[in-house]
Assembly symmetry: C2
Amino acid sequence: MTQNIYDNAGFFAGYSQLRRSVDGLDGAPEWPTLRSLLPDFDGKRVVDLGCGFGWFCRFAREAGAQDVLGLDVSANMLARARETTSDNVILYRQADLESLDLPTGAFDLAYSSLTLHYLKNLGALFATVHHALVPGGHFVFSAEHPLYTEPGPDYLDEGPRTSDWLAEGVVKQHRTLATYLNLLIGAGFAIDRVEEWGASREQIAAHPEWKIDHRRPTFLLVSATREG
Amino acid sequence: MTQNIYDNAGFFAGYSQLRRSVDGLDGAPEWPTLRSLLPDFDGKRVVDLGCGFGWFCRFAREAGAQDVLGLDVSANMLARARETTSDNVILYRQADLESLDLPTGAFDLAYSSLTLHYLKNLGALFATVHHALVPGGHFVFSAEHPLYTEPGPDYLDEGPRTSDWLAEGVVKQHRTLATYLNLLIGAGFAIDRVEEWGASREQIAAHPEWKIDHRRPTFLLVSATREG
């Protein structure tokens, strides 16, 4: 099982105070770009892989989704998600994405925000998502950009990286951008759009608390379609 | 017109002494990976965008291609290519890839090695390549990797970068990996494979003359297919 850092008390307390935790999607600077990659939600069946506090699940529901399943490994986050959701079309379930099982052709859209870089076996998850989508279904995700996980000279050396963000010893899996894309293609997805998102110069100037002094990308955003 | 650095006498003299100029494809460390992205050549009509000394054109011909067109902006390089080619199935033609015109559906494979990073208007070239290929035709290219053109903190700021490699003031166009892929997708290509090629630790140890002390990628290799 992947490290479940969100159930570490110190990490959870720190994470809960981030703007994206307090203000939801509008508190996430990459959200407008990620939103632009998403299809129409009307009548769609949606699964959120790493749903956290449920902000996206509630957004999808308000945008017209017919069924929404939010999955997360963290009991802490699911408890908060359930507390703040009053809509029984949204179902939250605890699941380890490293060993996920989903029914065949059960979803029109799979979504994941800033979760995939924690997973060791991404190829297996992509295969699971592929068979869980209908043909023509969409898979839209964000992940920490490889240049953020590994900004140094070792970009091509894939594997775990340990950082001290909100807690000590947070483990992320570094893989190259090419690996993300080739795993998707290998699982049967067509790549529709790739975004290397970084704060604009205006955002950097307006948010000194981000402590960002570069124009390297922070997040990788991808939209893909299940073929055939 | 793009800077034609290959017709600069000093640059051309230096370039002519590189191992990839003397030994051809086998002198290029990325060639085995690029080769693995290429389709079968038998009976194929091939265009090489930036053919240089014609090494790939001759390879394609020997591998069974039926027609081979080599295009380059450099008169110096085309003269050398013609001198070393004794096969009238291969045609060499001077062309500026910034304003290229090609006949519709005339090729099964378009190839380009380490040329695209010199071009300002890549979207126009991709559109030209798309209409010049038959549906299902392949486009395989290498380019300088964006992290090699721009290894510093300004990765997301696209535009010209000037370096002093073999001659002073060599201008390359920096664009992100996402931009390469989105331009291809926008032109109607499906992405088949993306490789971020960098020398292995073994190659770095065996070639101190490369003066490489990092595992960041040097070249971007992409294979794509013309859809529908």
